[in-house]
């Protein structure tokens, strides 16, 4: 028992089904029903049947859903067939962490040095809190009290030697939600537990085939033999099984408070008022970041309105934010969510959070003034503040068959992203040269044959007549050459966004030597682009 000295006595608290709680809170669904003690079931009360899905499989589910037979790892369709009322949400790892952040912060208020094991689970070194509160049990009660005050009423606490043992003590705690494994009692506590809890599926399978089913049996093996057979990793797991968890608690450094929050009382109903009201805070926000030797390259802006609407958006910056940039982003976000006349309801709360920061040294201006690009960026940002974020664009050419797919316009400062890969061959896309004028909205035209009838294309691609002329509005343009039809039958399964209609493209040249790209859909003709 010489190794005993290395084991840190640990308090672990665990909030079961944290992904569910996070999702319910983020979506504004009542978390209270889900947090109710499962023992006090009221058949009339609506319990949320919620599952969080990752890669088509259930990642977590609410207790009510679990009673209906939904399990982790179940396929979505199977889960829905077991529980038809199941609400399904995608799993967002960062939402989990983000929503757990206030919990950790609150815990740090009552006991110092919490280590986040994963969202929903935290380890704390027990020596300090136990001494301060009197005993392990008292400390655990305090912890539960704190969590209760945050609305997490089903949390469990385990106290044991080492984080591994404490975690499983917390998981095995049922009522009264605390389980304390006495000092030195880890091995006895772990002995009856199955080997799969070690979290090494391959090893667990192998051990089971060797006839070793519990942690106690595994721990009973000679340490030297385990090292010889399974290497260092195996030896580590062997130590865990024996309750000799040598991992230390590494308390996290509480993040510096860099957020900036302004509440408006009374709520403001004009965008410029809100922007002005945030001005001083924006200055402080940027100063705070600069004081931490950082610059901010992306921020998240959260805006709450009086009517209870919340708008959240992340804004990127190609260089780094200044106070004026922050104000601009708030204004654009409000403009985006509001009509021209004003906001739908007054704004009562604005919060700006630095989402990604960088060392200030990487953004220092050069000794001989700034680069030319810097000037360009400033001027374009000024234009953006006149016209809105989407007023200044840069372009990326992407893949796709239609002209609209191929040209992607990105607001200045945003990361260019193309939906479709340009390197794919895209059979059916237009041959080069590309049209120099691509109309923003296509214009209706009429294409007629020599006898004056509108030309149509049947399903086999045959024309009802030879195109002879086309008219735009009132002007009549005789055709000197034409080619087509080149059919596109893309995404026929989807009727959204005007897709799902078979279209035929034609290149035509009018008598003035101007070439056009015409599109035929059923009986209607459109001019989509011009080669001028």
């Amino acid at each position: 028992m010489t190794q005993r000295t290395n084991v840190t006595r640990t308090i672990v608290f665990w909030c079961p089904d944290w992904p569910i709680t996070a999702v319910l809170r983020a979506r504004g669904l009542t978390a209270e029903a889900g947090a109710l003690d499962p023992g006090a079931l009221d058949p009339g009360a609506p319990e949320p049947l919620v599952a969080v899905i990752e890669k088509g499989e259930v990642f977590a589910c609410s207790p009510a859903a679990r009673r209906e037979g939904v399990r982790r790892g179940l396929r979505v369709r199977e889960a829905q067939s077991r529980c038809p009322d199941l609400l399904i949400f995608p799993y967002e790892a960062d939402l989990d962490i983000r929503s757990f952040e206030p919990v950790v912060a609150a815990i740090e208020e009552v006991m110092s040095g919490a280590q986040l094991l994963r969202p929903g689970m935290c380890a704390i070194r027990s020596r300090g809190p136990s001494r301060f509160y009197g005993s392990d049990e008292e400390a655990a009660l305090w912890l539960l009290d704190t969590l209760d005050s945050l609305g997490i009423t089903d949390a469990r606490v385990g106290v044991a030697d080492g984080p591994f043992t404490a975690e499983h003590a917390a998981r095995s705690a049922t009522r009264p939600r605390i389980r304390i494994v006495p000092e030195g009692g880890s091995a006895e506590f772990l002995a009856p537990l199955p080997v799969r809890l070690l979290g090494a599926p391959q090893l667990a399978t192998l051990l089971q085939r060797l006839g070793i089913r519990t942690l106690g049996e595994f721990a009973a093996l000679e340490a030297q033999d385990v090292t010889a057979r399974f290497g260092q990793d195996g030896a580590h797991l062997h130590a865990l099984a024996g309750g000799l968890d040598s991992r230390r608690i590494v308390p996290r450094t509480p993040p510096r408070e860099l957020d900036s929050v302004v509440s408006f009382e009374p709520p403001l109903d004009r965008i410029d008022q809100v922007a002005f009201g945030f001005r001083a805070s924006a200055d402080r926000f940027i100063e705070g970041i600069a004081a931490a030797q950082l610059v901010c390259t992306s921020i998240r802006v959260e805006i709450d309105s009086d009517a209870g609407e919340t708008s959240e958006r992340t804004w990127l910056h190609p260089r780094s934010f200044t106070a004026a940039d922050v104000i601009d982003r708030i204004r654009w976000q409000l403009q985006g969510s509001a009509s021209e006349t004003g906001l739908s309801s007054p704004i009562c709360y604005v919060r700006v959070i630095p989402e990604s920061v960088d060392d200030i040294g990487n953004h220092e201006q050069g000794l001989w003034g700034t680069a030319a690009e810097e000037r360009i960026h400033h001027a374009l940002s000024r234009v953006q503040s006149m016209l809105g974020h989407g007023g200044v664009l840069t372009a990326v050419v992407g893949g796709g068959r239609t002209l609209a797919d191929r040209q992607n316009l990105v607001a200045w400062g945003d990361r260019p992203a193309t939906a479709l890969d340009r390197k794919q061959p895209w059979p059916g896309s237009l041959p080069t040269p590309a049209p120099s004028t691509v109309f923003e909205t296509r214009h209706p035209v009429t294409v007629v044959s020599a006898d004056g009838r509108v030309v149509t294309v049947d399903t086999r691609g045959a024309l009802s007549g030879i195109p002879n002329a086309f008219s735009t509005g009132g002007t009549f343009r005789p055709l000197s050459a034409w080619a087509g039809p080149w059919p596109i039958d893309e995404r026929w399964w989807s009727s959204a966004a005007g897709r799902g209609i078979r279209s035929n493209r034609f290149q035509v040249v009018d008598d003035a030597g101007l070439a056009w790209l015409l599109v035929n859909e059923g009986d209607s003709w459109w001019a989509e682009a011009r080669y001028d």
Partner: protein
């Protein structure tokens, strides 16, 4: 607006003299010239006067696409000057291609239908291309702000701009040394470019595809000199801009290509 965008077929300049050698920039030695027509001498002198009255002493040229450079007064796009292009966006791209390929930033204001893919094919670097499709009422302010920093600014005035605002913008361009290209008419331009004739090749009656276009580009300078024109491929079969050889005719489109496209 949509209706009147046709190239007038009437102004076909087919003067054989306009082919090949163009009057060179005034700085090339005029002494070596043989006996010259009086009109030509007058033109040369006018060009010299223009140069001496230059808005700025050290007017620098921008790198310009060779196909179009010799058509322009001074042998290329000049900093601080204004050019106007009538209707043709391809011609506009031909003007932008040179500076953009040489690393200059270009801005396109008020032209929402600017074909980005074509621009990329013609050698305009999209990473240094800024688009402001809908400047709205703040058109002049936006143009001025962008002209401050970008080398070439393309704009299309939504309405007839007032003389005072044109003068202010011109002064700003001169001061900043950026080049303005106006799509449409503009009161004070150094040169006005238009396509007076265009023929597409590669396309027939129901077969082929648009492959190349032979155009006659006419450049009118503001001093009232005789307009220069030249035949250019805008674009040629390799999606490049080039001068058309005098007697070149569009070669027939290869049959197998036709079949490949029809199928």
């Amino acid at each position: 607006m949509f209706d009147d965008i046709g190239v007038p077929a009437s102004v076909v300049l087919d003067d054989p003299f306009e082919e090949g050698e163009y009057e060179s920039a005034p700085r090339s030695a005029p002494a070596s010239a043989p006996v010259r027509a009086p009109a030509e001498t007058v033109r040369d002198l006018q060009a010299r006067i223009r140069q001496m009255q230059g808005t700025k002493l050290d007017t620098r040229s921008l790198p310009t696409h060779p196909a179009i450079a010799s058509l322009l007064p001074g042998g290329g796009l000049k900093q601080g000057a204004a050019y106007s292009v009538e209707r043709s966006v391809t011609l506009l791209m031909a003007l932008l291609a040179g500076p953009s390929a040489a690393g200059s930033w270009c801005g396109v204001i008020g032209v929402p239908e600017f074909g980005v893919e074509a621009a990329a094919h013609y050698g305009i670097d999209l990473e240094r291309l800024v688009l402001v499709p809908h400047p709205g009422d703040q058109w002049l302010a936006v143009t001025a702000a962008i002209a401050d920093v970008l080398t070439v600014v393309v704009t299309r005035p939504p309405r007839q701009a007032s003389d005072s605002s044109v003068a202010r913008l011109a002064a700003r361009l001169r001061q900043r040394g950026s080049t303005l290209i106006v799509l449409g008419s503009w009161p004070q331009t150094d040169a006005m470019l238009s396509i007076s004739h265009s023929t597409w090749s590669g396309i027939g009656e129901g077969h082929g595809r648009l492959a190349a276009r032979e155009t006659t580009v006419t450049v009118t300078t503001r001093a009232g000199a005789r307009p220069r024109s030249a035949r250019l491929w805008l674009p040629d079969r390799a999606e490049q801009f080039s001068r058309a050889e005098r007697s070149s005719r569009a070669p027939r489109f290869a049959d197998e290509q036709t079949r490949e496209l029809a199928g």
